[in-house]
């Protein structure tokens, strides 16, 4: 069975030097830990005036591999719908990733609603980034906080979209547990489960296992932190495998 990291990236991060930021490094640590594939997006695209240029580079980097391209979209930019369509056609994208904190818009913005319509039409999952860095270690740029009550309201407005919440903390996810559990297609990744002790076990007391998918935020975050948290969790091995196998992309 495949094992998948839904939250990995390649490229440069403008605020600090990344030592392992190439696609080869991502593949290397995945392979060493038995991860067979990943949903990868471009760090560069977050900061480019035209994110699509970063995704053109990413396509060249990962084409021919079994990794899935996740396109970065800033819905405040012109013609973003065309970018989605071009991403599907040119790159075969398997997801669209947004960064409302860095790109400075509300989850209630009508452009995001427009994006969600397009994604639902094409059955493309939305990867919603809650954060990239721990806010305490931000440098130079302080992205807007993505408030969880807004996330809860947002997912309630888009019942037909597949959505993966990326790098939300345990307490943040619990604060909107009803919204998550009531939405058939919402998942969250593990990259924000930095604590407490036995975090996976504790989250599975609140959420059914199908809500959780494995994501590392590598290379910004240390891969093994979340991987070992899951690997050593005192839970049924079948559930562990389900979390790692990314069945969420096959749900209907």
């Amino acid at each position: 069975m495949s094992t998948v990291d839904v939250n990995c990236l390649v490229g440069h991060w403008p605020f600090r030097k990344l030592y392992k930021n190439t696609f080869e490094e991502v593949q290397k640590i995945h392979k060493a830990n038995g991860i067979t594939s990943g949903y990868v997006s471009s760090l560069d695209s977050i900061f480019y005036n035209d994110p699509f240029e970063g995704d053109e580079d990413l396509h060249e980097i990962i084409k021919g591999s079994n990794y899935h391209h996740v396109l970065t979209i800033n819905p405040m930019l012109p013609e973003f719908v065309q970018d989605v369509k071009d991403g599907i056609k040119k790159f075969g994208i398997k997801g669209v990733r947004i960064y409302p904190g860095y790109h400075g818009y509300s989850l209630a913005n009508s452009k995001l609603k427009e994006l969600c319509h397009v994604l639902a039409d094409y059955n493309i999952p939305l990867f919603l980034t809650i954060r990239m860095e721990d806010e305490r270690s931000d440098y130079l740029v302080r992205p807007n906080k993505v408030h969880m009550d807004e996330v809860g309201s947002f997912i309630g407005r888009v019942p037909d979209n597949k959505i993966i919440l990326l790098t939300a903390f345990s307490n943040e996810l619990i604060s909107i547990k009803e919204a998550i559990n009531n939405h058939r297609y919402v998942r969250f990744d593990t990259s924000g489960l930095k604590g407490p002790l036995f975090a996976v076990e504790k989250m599975l007391e609140v959420f059914p296992p199908e809500k959780m998918v494995y994501g590392s935020l590598y290379p910004l975050y240390s891969f093994s932190c979340t991987y070992l948290t899951l690997k050593h969790a005192q839970i049924d091995e079948n559930i562990k495998q389900e979390i790692l196998s990314c069945l969420f992309l096959t749900f209907t």
């Binding site: 407490p196 240390s222 932190c225 070992l228 005192q234």
Partner: protein, 249 residues
């Protein structure tokens, strides 16, 4: 061998925190765990007494696994007596400073001098934050000031100073400052960056349990460290700073 130099019991959670720490020790094969007890930012004398009592109790219950750091509020009048009791009567092996005062505040000096006399390490919470910096919360530069005033003191700066790029750069020229990697920030490159600036002889394993464990263990596993260097971090350096026979000056 793994020694965790930085864990806590939180006030009101003695039994549950104790159980989780012991469970982690068993599951993750942790050889020894060092605990301090915390509650409020500016604890009064009664609160400090209660917190240290709980640590002493834990040590008595699990002497093979649990060691203790004596928590001090330097602003309290009885601070020196609390330290004396912690080390001489409660079997604690170091002093813990949190956010009640900057670590280079003159109120801290008599305590540091006492620790030098005992030859025990001082675990200093230091955390540079882009948001939410607390009043009197030390950062790397405060640790540096203290280290330069007392080069014979064994200082352990917690959390890599919060943001490692601030904390490690601050203390890199202070050979009497070790750093622990405890806490919930787990960036891929912090340990490699720390190694580049200060080497591996001054990096110590800590977690902040019950806050986290693999958050910290995973960072060491992912870092570009040899197996010998990992052993230094997991326990070798810790044994050195806890060794009361070996003085650094």
């Amino acid at each position: 061998m793994i020694i965790d130099i930085h864990t806590h019991i939180w006030a009101g959670r003695y039994e549950s925190d104790k159980q989780e720490l012991m469970k982690a020790a068993e599951l993750y094969d942790i050889y020894r765990i060092y605990v301090s007890a915390l509650k409020s930012y500016y604890p009064d004398e009664a609160e400090i007494s209660e917190l240290n009592f709980e640590v002493a109790k834990f040590i008595k219950e699990q002497p093979d696994i649990i060691g203790g750091f004596c928590y001090i509020n330097p602003s309290n009048k009885d601070a020196l007596d609390v330290l004396k009791k912690g080390i001489e009567e409660q079997d604690m092996e170091g002093m813990k400073l949190w956010v009640a005062a900057y670590c280079d505040d003159p109120k801290v000096f008599p305590l540091v001098e006492k620790c030098i006399g005992y030859n025990i390490p001082i675990l200093i919470h230091a955390f540079h934050k882009a948001v939410g910096q607390l009043d009197n919360e030390s950062i790397g530069s405060h640790v540096t000031n203290l280290a330069r005033r007392y080069p014979e003191a064994k200082l352990l700066m917690a959390h890599l100073g919060g943001n490692a790029y601030n904390g490690i750069k601050s203390i890199r020229s202070c050979p009497n400052v070790w750093v622990d990697i405890s806490g919930s920030i787990f960036r891929r490159d912090d340990v490699d960056y720390t190694k580049k600036l200060i080497g591996t002889d001054r990096i110590v394993f800590g977690t902040d349990m019950p806050g986290s464990y693999f958050t910290n263990f995973g960072q060491i596993e992912d870092a570009d460290l040899t197996s010998e260097e990992k052993q230094l971090v997991y326990s070798g350096n810790t044994l050195k700073i806890l060794d009361r026979k070996g003085r650094i000056l």
